[in-house]
Amino acid sequence: MTVHTLIAPRPAAGCAEDAVLRERGQREVFCGLTSIVWLHRKMQDAFFLVVGSRTCAHLIQSAAGVMIFAEPRFATAIMEERDLAGLTDANDELDRVVERLIARRPDIRLLFLVGSCPSEVIKLDLHRAARRLDGIFAPRVRVLNYSGSGIETTFTEGEDAALAAIVPQMPAAAPGAAPSLLVAGTLADVVEDQFRRLFDGLGIADVGFLPARRLADLPPVGPATQVLLAQPFLKDTARALEERGASLLSAPLPVGAEGTTRWLQAAATAFHVSRERFQNVTAAGEARAERAVRRHRAALEGRRVFLFPDSQIEIPVARFLAREMGMELIEVGTPYLHRGHLAAELALLPPGAAISEGQDVDRQLDRCRRAAPDLVVCGLGLANPLEAEGIATKWSIELIFTPIQGYEQAGDLAELFARPLARRQKLAV
């Protein structure tokens, strides 16, 4: 079941020639449904209704890691035997469930019908269902759909699919509108506000964020919109934005002091911000970030790190670990490598960094053990077993669940990696 091919080395773009190891074995990653865990926090008037199985419901509650403290804004319409028997009935059932849900939650403005593996396999057409229900409930509640199924999406690709579904709902920018900036990809509110202030300082006044916190706040998009990706996994979203006429800026991700500066620089260049103004606005933050990062450098410098595939943020994070923390990259795994969006990142990776795409978890574990890294970045299913073997680990899920982007979070990001090592040093049991 394992096909691993060495594909042609990518063109040298500032870094040395290295090949990408492509694996097609067992993947130890979440499916796209998991994105709901952070999307529903971000989009405060949206509800995510997974049309799936008990497994899907169990995945989301397990990945969320916590029990529910209040009635959550996500749920699963669990399909039962009779739903599989006839699609008409399944559609009727879905209508019934949605009606009940909307009656129960008058605060909801946007309802996502989220497809799962079972709904995809039985070919339950959620796009049509969403259109039908939208016809009934709009304008009070908009109904959209996307798939977070594990046969089509890996972990963060669920966010990509959700955002791509929202793009058509964004208002059209007025013809002849002045250039605007759109930041795509979920950021913690606090990070979003920091960036807003920085763009403000740069004199880029018209800045929108996708997703917006509320449906009514969706920013307009049009041919004058320049898009800056705040997350690396937005393949379909970027395409949908381009279809609306927007153009993509090429930049590394705003991870670490360097990444944040380069990311902001891409916007500054596009909006003709003077070099001096850029310096004035970013210097303080950049210096703070560098100081914060430097505090942890000693703990990480020269250490060897192995990253398992998880969220696609592995490459930006590896770039940060190598360039700002002085770590040595043994292997950088990613579930999917989007060369276009990551071109600026790949150019910054140190020569010889081994990248793997996809996964064959047992083989990867073999490679990892052989390499005896100082630190492994991996998912929750692998972390404790590796720790028990004596290997220090950092849970990759934190790179998604905690704010790491921007100057003010660079130190926190460094600390995430320094902590497991510091802990080992302190423990004498």
């Binding site: 130890e28 397990s62 669990i78």
Partner: protein, 516 residues
């Protein structure tokens, strides 16, 4: 379609994983998409297991669907056998693979692996986790257990198997240690414990024991019934949770094992603790129970006969045990709640206003919201349910643990008296409370005294009901830890009688009405 915000049980293949992960030398090849690998973290994170569950997932993708998912499954089986060299293999499908109908059992058999391969049919759209665990264990026992060689000759010491403990079980690790010790003490030798810690070759030896002990019927009843029928092994079915049940358990073991009647109560403290005067205040505390079937039934007995609580509500999410739980409810003149919708459970708790909830982690959250003391007695499990210390629920030590964990959330008795005595003291204001800090959070609507923390409890009064100054003043004299209850009861009383303004009289009428 069932609208589900949160679920008490996972899908049936997670039950199968609990069996596979509990055992050694068994491997599970699961035809499933990548997202289903989340289940690994249940074991590695919640239970803090130091090894990955012995599960290979095929992680087929959409692009495989048109092609050869069956071949993918066979490759996965072969690779898993080569890598892990298990003694036996179980194979099956998760919800998605069930729909593509690849027949994992048939596919695995045609590979001709030199080990037993057991096919699991776990209908994902009908059944749930515990059923899946039970079915898997039953299939393993059916497939692997051999009858004892030769005639049944009783040895000098009777022997038994302990059936039921799994990975990710609520206190299974600790219960097992306790019950094992108890059995050894009363002169019974344990032949095999399964599935926890057993190898397939141990399952093969089940037939050698004189009888079986079914610790967790939700897991092991089906297997025990098979062993009873196939090998004539009787089963001990009393679930030894609580002092009375543990005594019954010992008596049943003695009867089945042909031992003289015995007692083995060294270290049993619950009976005396419960009779000591400090426990007087526990009398008649109104308790609500929600758990898996066997734990709910057992908790009802302990709560009512060993702690003298009143059972005001009981329910379970295990439909398989609806009958047993309904029978207990009937004994107490109440109706059982059989549901897996936690919102229904929450509604019932809010309506019953118990003084103590014995439930799952979900009820713990509900309890927190409503400001009601709570102890956790059942799966679904949380990382807190795997404490570092020994903390069994079963046996006499288990009963000691129950006493501690159920009573501590309540205000301690003597302390309650002191608080009453000093309630008018200026120092005894709303901020200072029990030094234990265990006072249940008072629940009161916004009109309450300013110093009171604002809890997240729903008020039962419509905005039209108000308190007059005298009643409000009097309410303030009531110790803060019971004030919330007094307020709620009074408001409920007023609401039921259509009283718009609560006066001193209403307050005391309500007190008389609710007082025992």
């Amino acid at each position: 379609m069932q609208l589900t915000l949160w679920t008490y049980e996972g899908p049936p293949h997670v039950g199968a994983m609990r069996i596979a992960t509990a055992m050694e030398g068994l491997h599970y090849v699961l035809h499933a998409p990548q997202g289903d690998t989340y289940a690994d973290l249940l074991f590695t994170m919640i239970e803090r297991r130091d090894r990955r569950p012995p599960v290979t997932y095929t992680t087929f993708q959409a692009r495989d669907l048109g092609g050869d998912t069956a071949g993918l499954f066979q490759d996965a089986c072969r690779a898993a056998y080569e890598r892990f060299r298990p003694e036996a293999m179980i194979v099956g499908a998760s919800c998605t693979a069930e729909l593509i109908q690849d027949d994992p059992g048939g596919l695995a058999t045609t590979l001709g692996l030199p080990i037993p391969v057991i096919a699991l049919e776990l209908p994902a759209y009908q059944k749930k986790e515990n059923w899946g665990a039970s079915e898997t264990f039953y299939r393993l026992v059916r497939g692997l257990a051999r009858p004892r060689a030769g005639d049944h000759v009783r040895g000098p010491r009777p022997t038994c198997n302990i059936l039921g403990p799994t990975a990710l079980g609520f206190r299974h690790r600790d219960d097992l240690l306790e019950i094992r010790r108890l059995l050894e003490t009363i002169g019974v030798t344990v032949n095999v414990v399964a599935p926890l810690g057993a190898r397939p070759s141990d399952i093969a030896r089940l037939g050698e024991a004189d009888f079986n002990v079914v610790l967790y019927p939700e897991i092991a009843e089906a297997a025990a019934r098979y062993l009873e029928k196939a090998f004539g092994q009787p089963a001990v079915r009393t679930v030894p949770i609580g002092v009375g049940a543990t005594r019954d358990f010992i008596a049943e073991v003695a009867r089945v094992a042909g031992l003289p009647p015995l007692t083995a109560e060294a270290g049993s403290r619950l009976p005396w603790y419960s009779r000591s005067v400090d426990s007087t205040y526990l009398t008649g505390k109104r308790v609500f129970i929600f758990a898996d079937g066997p734990h709910a039934v057992a908790a009802a007995r302990v709560a009512t006969t060993e702690l003298a609580f009143d059972l005001v509500g009981i329910g379970t999410y295990s439909r398989e045990f609806a009958r047993e739980v309904r029978a207990v409810a009937a004994e107490h003149g109440i109706e059982a709640l059989i549901t897996d919708d936690y919102l229904e459970v929450e509604d019932q708790i809010a309506a019953l206003r118990p003084e103590l909830i014995l439930g799952t982690q979900m009820e713990r959250h509900i309890a927190k919201r409503l400001g009601i003391p709570c102890a956790v007695i059942s799966a679904p499990v949380h990382v807190q349910d795997f404490p570092a210390r020994q903390s069994p629920q079963m046996g006499f030590e288990g009963a000691n643990v129950l006493f501690d964990t159920w009573v501590h959330p309540l205000m301690m008795g003597l302390e309650e008296h002191l608080l009453h005595m000093f309630r008018d003291d200026f120092e005894f204001n709303d901020r200072s409370g029990s030094h234990l800090g265990k006072a249940p959070a008072p629940a009161a609507p916004a009109a309450a005294v300013a110093a009171e923390p604002e809890p997240a409890a729903p008020s039962v009064v419509p905005a039209t009901t108000r308190w007059d100054a005298g009643a409000e003043n009097e309410l303030r004299k009531i110790p803060f830890f019971v004030r919330g209850k007094a307020r709620r009861n009074t408001e409920r009383f007023a609401l039921e009688r259509g009283i718009a303004t609560i006066t001193l009289d209403t307050l005391y009428d309500a007190k008389a009405h609710f007082g025992r």
